[in-house]
């Protein structure tokens, strides 16, 4: 596949008759508008085309800005969890966990072990859902529509398990400050293991369809290349950074929750192109599977939330039985948990990269400021550079593999 990178029309000697003269060429300005099937979510890309080659590209975002930060400043700390769910909506538990870690850092809370394991299990399940969504969407847009069906089936199965646990398929609202909201139903562990087996079968099927497919390789290998230095300069994190050759994974570099007790590998790529990013995600799904199985082996029964009635709702028998329980419950619900004043930045390895929450508290029951370091931002920022000089058709796999989720980019 030849890549035309000419950016100016070559001059041709004057022809004999006007019919043979070359057409005067002008660059075409195409608006890939905000409502477009390939622009996941709503991003407007204004592309200057030279034939099929992209001369330059400008991105316009803000079509999904929902005022996340301002809304969070007006609700209590616990009421922020549903807002964080809808940031990266394909893997919402990781957002919940990241935010909970930020508040616990401010408050100096210790989370019990079982809650940590549950957070890890659900985070990894949602990581698998995120990667499945991306691979299905990528397959669909490259023309392999069956991959969408298999991916959605696998995702639906995992969501069924999470529905049994959290109550919702997509926006789970599972983590709480000090732990998680509820314990697993009986028999859930075995069900999840069976679901993972079936998801593995489907993943192997998808792998067979895509990884050695001539069309996929032609379209993704060598396109959307990001060099190692540029990737770090732009602030890439996660699978996109690892595809460019930097082995940075928050779970290994600064382990949080129980990741230091778990044994898993972190795939690192070489070329920094779309194909490598796709392979990162396929491999990470295998590692997530491994992590979940290890967690089930290591998990012990225990408390699922810290025993601190300033931050965690006391158990119902205490609320109805004792004055302290009723008062604690009332204060937490009506005024919000009183997090000590200060600021903290906590970060997790979300499916897309390093998801950071910067929380500022003024001692009251509401956040004073809650900032989100969305991993998808940096990749989206670098998109014009990745596309300059490349063909328009390369925009599709590039946009797919950087996994721009509108919710987190536009908060």
């Amino acid at each position: 596949m030849s890549k035309d990178t000419q950016t100016s029309v070559p001059s041709v000697p004057a022809a004999a008759s006007p019919l043979d003269a070359p057409f005067p060429a002008k660059r075409l300005l195409v608006n890939l508008g905000p409502s477009h099937p390939a622009m996941h979510g709503t991003v407007r890309a204004v592309v200057e085309l030279d034939g099929e080659a992209v001369h330059s590209m400008k991105l316009d975002i803000g079509f999904l800005h929902r005022g996340f930060e301002k809304s969070c400043e007006n609700v209590t700390w616990t009421q922020v969890f549903p807002y964080t769910d809808r940031l990266n909506y394909v893997s919402s538990i990781m957002n919940n966990v990241g935010y909970a870690l930020a508040v616990e850092k401010l408050a100096g809370l210790q989370v019990p072990e079982r809650a940590q394991y549950l957070r890890v299990v659900t985070s990894e399940l949602h990581r698998m859902c995120d990667h499945l969504t991306l691979i299905s969407a990528m397959g669909l847009e490259l023309g392999a529509m069956t991959v969408l069906i298999y991916g959605m089936e696998a995702r639906d199965l995992i969501w069924d398990r999470l529905t049994e646990l959290c109550g919702a398929r997509l926006t789970s609202n599972y983590a709480r400050v000090g732990g998680v909201s509820r314990d697993v139903p009986p028999g859930w562990n075995e069900k999840v293991l069976r679901t993972l087996d079936r998801a593995e079968e489907l993943r192997v099927e998808i792998d067979r369809l895509l990884t050695r497919n001539r069309i996929v390789i032609d379209r993704t290998r060598g396109t959307g290349v990001m060099s190692r230095e540029d990737a770090i300069d732009y602030g890439f994190t996660g699978p996109c950074l690892r595809a460019s050759g930097v082995p940075y994974d928050v779970r290994k570099a600064s382990p949080y929750l129980v990741y230091d007790r778990l044994d898993f590998d972190v795939p690192v790529g070489t070329n920094g192109d779309n194909f490598d990013r796709y392979l990162m995600r396929m491999e990470e799904m295998k590692q997530s599977d491994r992590i979940v199985r290890q967690c089930f082996d290591q998990m012990q029964p225990g408390a699922i939330a810290a025993d601190d009635s300033r931050y965690v709702l006391p158990p119902k028998p205490e609320v109805y039985g004792s004055i302290e329980g009723a008062m604690a419950h009332f204060k937490i619900i009506m005024e919000g948990i009183k997090v000590p004043a200060g600021e903290a930045y906590a970060y997790v390895e979300a499916a897309n990269g390093e998801l950071g929450f910067y929380a500022v508290s003024d001692g009251s029951g509401r956040p004073y400021k809650l900032g989100v370091r969305a991993p998808g931002w940096n990749m989206l920022m670098a998109l014009p550079q990745m596309m300059e000089g490349k063909l328009l058709a390369d925009l599709i796999p590039t946009f797919d593999t950087i996994n721009m989720i509108g919710g987190e980019v536009e908060q």
């Binding site: 905000p34 409502s35 997509l170």
Partner: protein, 181 residues
Amino acid sequence: MSATSDLDLVPAIATRREDALSGLEKLVSKGLGWARKYSLFQYPFVTACCGMEFMAVAAARYDLDRFGAALPRFSPRQADLLMVVGTVNVKQAPILRRVYDSMADPKWVVAFGVCASSGGFYDNYATVQGIDRIIPVDVYIPGCPPRPEQVLDGIILLQQKIQDQPHKLIDRQKPASPAKE
């Protein structure tokens, strides 16, 4: 409260001559209604999280294809069902309006999710509090995001509504100018 779309009004007793349907016209209306409700070409105006549930509804398990509404048409000129999936914010509102205006009659609008129905819990400076402030809506599907079964229920409701509307072979009425109140 302002009036809903004119397509909505099925007079029980038609007192005006233009609204009256003869027996043959009633048969035609039933036939056209049947044809139109089972062949919905949707324009998925997907913005946010509800898009994930939309993908799940369109996939194999909760199949939208058995309702005839499988094929998305990514051009508003070719679509007749505008599914507004997800939050519409103030910057996106003119685009939604433009897409709606580009669609040809007869057209229906489904507000998928609470953000499209009423703004959801984003009651702030950036979000339109429900798309019915901008375009007329036929079916509201609540939920954040709605379960696929809820979406299918909404589609069935829409199909009943389409069946009950008066359809004419040659529609001499000017199309209802959308929401110009």
